[in-house]
């Protein structure tokens, strides 16, 4: 059997009985055990992990581990996570009552994705991909409205370019303010019906998982 890591948690009770709790230092990894020959790209497995993730977040905030990290023993998990544990504890302690909300906004003038076949150098392709991603921009009026409505509700926020067709605002929000964020999303829909966007969440600590400064 192998275990697929889902998140890092402060307490065993934050994990069990929804998932296997694997001690790493004084923290716990949530994990799902599968057969050694189980392909990690299996659609049903992906959906199962996504479902467990959502249920775990209902219990307590945790640090999301990007899908794909699997281990065969607790010792292996401990050795590979060891360098992160001190920071994880600080982040989890500081943000136990906070979750992330994501506002994905369609770029106002999306760039064409570079055609990888047009490049003879991988580095040149990566540069072109990076340039196209960074060039994506949000309608200035929408951005102003999003910052006016959502940012004041957040402990921290970050705009990020994830691809060439959209820009994201991630907000670290107290759980008790989630309804206010959703109302802000409805207000954005009302004042900017021409801008396609998706407000989603709550999500575990993903963007702010490595961000432990207060």
């Amino acid at each position: 059997m192998k275990s697929i890591a889902i998140g890092a948690h402060l307490l065993r009770d934050d994990v069990e009985p929804l998932a296997e709790a694997v001690p790493v230092g004084d923290l716990f990894l949530s994990a799902l055990s599968v057969a050694d020959d189980q392909p990690l790209g299996d659609r049903e497995l992906l959906l199962q992990v996504a479902g467990i993730r959502a249920k775990l977040l209902d219990v307590a905030t945790f640090i999301a581990i990007r899908y794909g990290f699997a281990f065969t023993s607790a010792e292996e998990a401990r050795s590979k996570c060891g360098a992160h544990l001190e920071r994880w504890r600080r982040v989890l302690t500081a943000n136990r009552d906070h979750v992330e909300m994501t506002l994905k906004v369609a770029a106002s003038s999306p760039e064409a994705r570079p055609d990888r076949h047009a490049f003879t150098s991988g580095a040149e392709y990566l540069r072109a991909l990076h340039a196209a991603t960074q060039a994506a921009n949000v309608d200035p009026a929408f951005r102003e409205a999003a910052e006016r409505l959502i940012v004041p509700l957040a402990r921290r926020h970050r705009w990020s370019h994830r691809d060439e067709k959209s820009v994201e605002l991630t907000a670290l929000v107290a759980r008790e303010r989630l309804d206010e964020v959703k109302q802000a999303g409805e207000e954005l829909r009302r004042i900017a019906p021409h801008v396609p966007f998706l407000l989603s969440g709550p999500w575990p600590l993903e963007v702010f998982a490595d961000d432990d400064h207060e």
Partner: protein
């Protein structure tokens, strides 16, 4: 929460699962069928495009 998850577009849910969160040093193979799609073995590849570009110039 589960109802909300089901209402979210599937792509958004999978995007968060596959492309967010902490990357652990190690190895993983994401496969569909018998085809390995992605081999995660180098932190540098997983860091970000900027990091890859910096190293490619060395």
């Amino acid at each position: 929460m589960n109802e909300e998850l089901e209402e979210l577009p599937l792509l958004e849910t999978l995007d968060h699962l596959l492309d967010r969160g902490v990357v652990i040093a190690g190895e993983a193979v994401i496969s569909i069928g018998d085809v390995d799609l992605l081999y995660l073995g180098l932190n540098i590849v997983l860091a970000n495009v900027d990091a890859v570009m910096r190293v490619s110039k060395r």
